[in-house]
Point group: C2
Chain length 136, copies 2
DNA sequence: AACTAAAAAGACTATATGTATCCTTTTAGG
DNA sequence: CCTAAAAGGATACATATAGTCTTTTTAGTT
């Protein structure tokens, strides 16, 4: 239950790799994919999503590739995960407006709200900077 | 992401309903299903799982039905959810032995461990007793 | 013993989601 | 204009989800 998909996992690997590179180092998708052991075509789709929302910057053509969109200390794991997996929804009643007509009186409903809050809070508390294997 | 399935949702509804009934009141599956608005055939499967692990007691034949296996204050939401959805696994590296060869050096790994811990802790902190709409 | 009520068990179906791959198009540099 | 690289779109396949249906077992009733 509650398992991150490959897409999410690959997304994190890919962007963490970028975060570990010098801020102005343009990386080839094929290099990133190879380094983090992800199918390149799949990673391409993921990075397209990142690019659309500015999490990464992309450059086409010769000499193109990817760059981190912002400083690694300003990108949280929550953002990365939600970018590709959508919002953290432990149960469908936590969306607004609630998708369950029982949410008004249901005692379980607030529990899922708490779960959502805790997960978001853990993920929001981690930045890409902390996730690289660089010591500075 | 991380969404409870219908099965899990229905499981909770069903067992919370049981928990709200007198401890010795044998309930028909069909009644439970109607009360909590779940397809009876689906709920049957769920209660079979509950029955196997003793979360509910079942009686066949005339006058049969279901009873809560233990006192509602001794059954946590975590147990109920894990009974039908399996363990809380936010990412596959949190199982033991770890299913990812990167888990040794990966900085993301401990984050998923934390997520798992938080979710489990929230769910383990809620008992069926607190989830009924009865005030005593 | 026969009948009936009810859960257990197993097979089956349909739909949605996940996990990719491939091909074509756009963009940019040399 | 040729080549490198990302973007976009279509497609294929596998797995999981959500449920139904039928048959079997068990237990009480008449
Ligand atoms: S937990 Fe309660 S409010 Fe949420 S989906 Fe289930 S019944 Fe509805
Ligand atoms: S978070 Fe790290 S250890 Fe866990 S699956 Fe991803 S790479 Fe492996």
């Amino acid at each position: 239950m509650m398992e991150l998909t490959r897409k999410g996992e690959y997304a994190i690997r890919g962007i963490v790799y970028l975060a570990g590179k010098p801020i102005d180092k343009v990386c080839l998708l094929s290099d990133i994919a190879a380094a983090v052991d992800v199918p390149p075509t799949f990673l391409a789709k993921i990075f397209q999503q990142f690019s659309k929302i500015g999490l990464v910057k992309s450059f086409r053509g010769t000499g193109g590739g990817f760059l981190l969109g912002r400083a690694p200390e300003n990108i949280t794991l929550l953002e990365v995960v939600e970018a590709v997996e959508g919002p953290i929804i432990p149960n469908r009643c936590v969306v607004s407006p609630p998708e369950c007509e029982r949410s008004g009186f249901c005692k379980v409903h607030p529990v899922w709200k708490r779960v959502q809050g805790e997960v978001r809070s853990v993920l929001a508390g981690v930045t890409l900077k902390e996730l690289t294997n660089k010591e500075h």
